[in-house]
Structure formats: structure tokens, C-alpha cells
Symmetry: C2
Subunit: 275 residues, 2 copies
């Protein structure tokens, strides 16, 4: 019997404790549920950048989306952390829990292909500037054949940025949106975007202001409430919905049974029926 895979993305922000949720994922996979895991590594990249004396910089677009300023030196540090340290630590942990994990970046096998942005509008000290040498972009195509071949083989892919252009240039991409694309390409039934926040908050300073449902009526509210990196998650959730993923939850990666709770609806839930 073919079981539709679920896609779980664990953020790389500060304060995410990954061991408990990996244990939940391992249990889920051992129960027979195919999973594709996607992870970030933002905070650790900042830490390594600081240790190496390379300043981590961020770009804010006029619409308020933020992304890492990625020159070649930054991309190398990024790959060391995302593809080296974090990806391999996750694969090692899952394998120790009897999951046949296989770690891949989006450049490997061209799993995540996209275009580099050749001009980025950014706000710097109140002025709009154009940045032309940034190695960032957006995933436009997912090699679902390779992922399905691995899933059919009993493997659990553990995916991480960067992605790659058709010309063969590595590009930093938003991992939430890449996870959404992946979920849509695989016909996944569920997508979980889990990080160090409980979901979309009306007031980012107040964890009690969670918006539990992003339905037709409240979608505008959710979009308005999302600031900074949360804007990318809401955009990712909407893209996944449009791509046919039945259920998306933006929720917390932390705490006991974080995955189970997210699957039960803890967080901000987007559902296909709302469209």
C-alpha cells in the first residue's frame, strides 16, 4: 500500500532543541509513515560566522521579507553548517534510532533547482538599494523522481539548502518555501513548519496571541500579523496549499511531543478546504 509522505521542516533558529523531535520523527518513520525531513541552520551559521570573523548580514526587501546576504565566503560557511555539521548530526541521530536516513542538500542530484535573483531590492538605512551579486534564489523545480526512488527504497531523505541553478551555481534558498515546494511535488498530505515560535502570533511579544486557523476570513489577518522570517513561513504555507498539500501547520519544534501536538493542530493550521 502506498502511503503519502509527510514533510517536516525544522527551523534553525536559536533555542531549538532538536533531540526530542528527532525521536518523535524516528518513531513515526519506524511505524511505517514515509517522511521527508527538511532543516535550516540559521543560528549556527551566525555563530560560526562570528567565530571566523565574517560578519553575518541580512537583507530586508521592501515588502518586509528577510534573507541572508550570501556572497561566496558566506555560502561556504553556510554549506559547512547546513550540509556538514547539522545535516550529518541529524542523519547520525536518526540512524542511531534505526531510521535509514540519507542526508542531501538541494544541490545534490539537482534535487532543488531554481533561479538566482540577479537583482535584489533591499532596504538599507531607509533607502532602497539594488544588490546584484547575491547568491540567493527560489526553488522552482523539485526532483521528485529521486526522492520517490529513495522513499520507495525505505530511505528517509534529510534535505537542506542550498539549491542550485540550471547552470550549476549554488544558491541560498528559503528552507520553508523549499519544504513547501517539496511537499507539493511529492503529493504530500501534510507539511509541518516547526521552529522556535508556537505559530503566527497577532502580537509577536505575546505567545498567547496565537492565530489558530488561517482560513478565508483570517488569512488576511495572518498575512498582516506575520513579520520578518514568519512572512516566509506564511508564504510557504500558502504555496503548499495551492500546490495541493491538504494540511499545513506552522508550529513549535520544542517541548514534549512537539510533533504529535502539531499533528493534532497545535499552531497555526492551514487547510485545503479553506480555499
Amino acid at each position: 500500500m502506498h502511503t503519502s509522505p509527510i514533510v517536516i521542516k525544522i527551523g534553525g533558529g536559536e533555542g531549538i532543541e532538536i533531540a526530542p523531535i528527532l525521536a518523535e520523527i524516528a518513531q513515526l518513520v519506524r511505524s511505517g509513515q514515509p517522511v521527508v525531513l527538511v532543516h535550516g541552520g540559521s543560528h549556527e551559521t551566525n555563530v560560526l560566522s562570528a567565530r571566523l570573523g565574517v560578519e553575518a548580514r541580512f537583507i530586508t526587501s521592501p515588502s518586509g521579507h528577510t534573507s541572508r546576504r550570501t556572497d561566496r565566503a558566506t555560502l561556504e560557511i553556510f554549506e559547512m553548517v547546513y550540509c556538514g555539521k547539522i545535516n550529518k548530526a541529524i542523519v547520525e541521530s536518526l540512524r542511531a534510532q534505526r531510521v535509514d536516513a540519507i542526508g542531501l542538500s538541494g544541490i545534490d542530484g539537482g534535487i532543488w533547482r531554481g533561479k538566482r535573483k540577479d537583482a535584489i531590492r533591499a532596504i538599507e538605512e531607509g533607502r532602497t538599494v539594488i544588490i546584484r551579486d547575491d547568491l540567493t534564489g527560489t526553488v522552482e523545480h523539485v526532483d521528485h523522481d529521486l526522492l520517490q526512488m529513495l522513499l520507495a527504497n525505505g530511505r528517509t531523505p534529510v534535505l537542506t539548502p542550498p539549491a542550485i541553478t540550471d547552470e550549476g551555481t549554488a544558491i541560498n534558498v528559503d528552507a520553508d518555501r523549499a519544504a513547501a515546494r517539496t511537499a507539493a511535488a511529492l503529493g504530500a498530505s501534510e507539511l509541518y513548519l516547526l521552529s522556535n515560535v508556537p505559530g503566527v502570533l497577532r502580537d509577536p511579544a505575546n505567545a498567547g496571541s496565537l492565530i489558530a486557523r488561517a482560513s478565508g476570513d483570517t488569512l488576511a489577518t495572518v498575512r498582516d500579523a506575520a513579520k520578518g522570517r514568519m512572512k516566509n513561513k506564511v508564504l510557504a504555507a500558502e504555496e503548499a496549499l495551492l500546490g495541493g498539500v491538504g494540511r499545513i501547520v506552522i508550529g513549535s519544534a520544542n517541548g514534549a511531543n512537539a510533533l504529535t501536538r502539531a499533528r493534532e493542530g497545535a499552531g497555526t493550521v492551514f487547510e485545503g478546504a479553506m480555499l
Copy 2:
């Protein structure tokens, strides 16, 4: 028609210029020859260790084999360099040259499985000591099914340490010997161990003292002449021969047409017929 793959290992020592040989490998793959590429990263690991203020240490066994002293902090740095920086740079370069490269460490999918050495005899300041907490070992099993599936799919696997134990612990392994195991497991016809030296030298200080053939008569000479890291390469070549690989060349990764020259026999050649 099934073409037997060839395995090429490029060392990670100081002074290896990788771009020209990657161009040769890309051309070879595009011509229809399946290739598995294995790489090291020793020098870059030393450089990053120094930048991070973590001392790189090496162990010399009583028989003269050397290996990196690998505690958990060292393993993290090792993974950042081998699996992050170098592996992804190679994959990116090959993809830009129209090769469908896919980068994997030995832990991914359990491609390289082995045992951790739970006690290592080492010479420290002239005395033999026992080290028990080192994360090193030897590859004993290669998942050739996964590699063959990828090769049959037109992919070019780019492999790098670490390997992993059956219990799920990442272990640093010698990449030359892992390449030899891989070549044997895949039924490869040829194995190239290319680095910053032209082959096995009678006198390491004299590049003109190359031993061109390791045949029955000269094998003892080759074993005696090999010092330090070269001992591992000779051991790897012998293991590959015993594993059925027809032809092994220990040669240089540098200079114009390094791969072509190695295929023509430049370096120290081991051939099956000699056994």
C-alpha cells in the same frame, strides 16, 4: 551495455589543485564512463581547526600508520569541511560541467559501514599508549545497491568520510581504504588514488625515485618505501587488488591531464595479473 564503473579518489592534502582534474572527470563522465568520486579534506580541516582554535592532532600507530585524532569536536569540524565545504564545492563544479553529481558522506544511507576501534595503540613521545575514546574505524561494508541504483540512474556519486557504525555512530575512516572497498564492492575495473605526490617514492625527498610497478618482486620494496599517509594508500591498493579490482594507480592529482596520465600508467601501478 553495462560499463564497469571506475573509482577515483582525490586526496585532501596541501597543494592539490582540484579544478583541472574535475574538468577531466566531467569529460570522462560525459563520454559515458560511470565514475564514483571519493575525496578527502585533510589540509582544509587543519586550516579550519586552526582558525577555530582547535588543535589538529594525529596518531601514529606502532606500525607507522597515521590517522587524525578524532574526538567529538574534531568530528564536527571534519564534517563541516569534508561533507560541507569540499563535497558541495565539488558537486557544484561538476554540475556546472553537466555532470549529474550527487554528494554523499559514508553515513548517508549507511553507504560506508564499519566498526569503531575501541582501543588504538599509538606512539606518543616514544611510548605506546592506548586511546579508547577515538571516533575512528575502518569501512567493512559498502552499500553497493544504493550506489548502483544511482549509477544506473545516470548519477555520479561524490563520496567522503565519515562512515558509520551499525549502532549509528559516525566514525572517521581512511578515505583511500574506503575508496578501495568501494571499488571492490562495485566490481570496478580501475581505481585511482591521486594526491599531491607522484606515487610511491624510494626516497620521499626525490620525485625521481618513483617506483613505477608494484609487482610480486617489488611489492616488498613498495611496502618498505611507503611512509606516513602513503602506507595507507599502499594498503588500500593491496586491498583493492585482493577485492578483484584489475588495476590500481597511486599517482598525482596535479598538473595538466593528471587523470589521463594516471590512466596511461603515470604513478605506481598495481595490476591483478601480478598476484
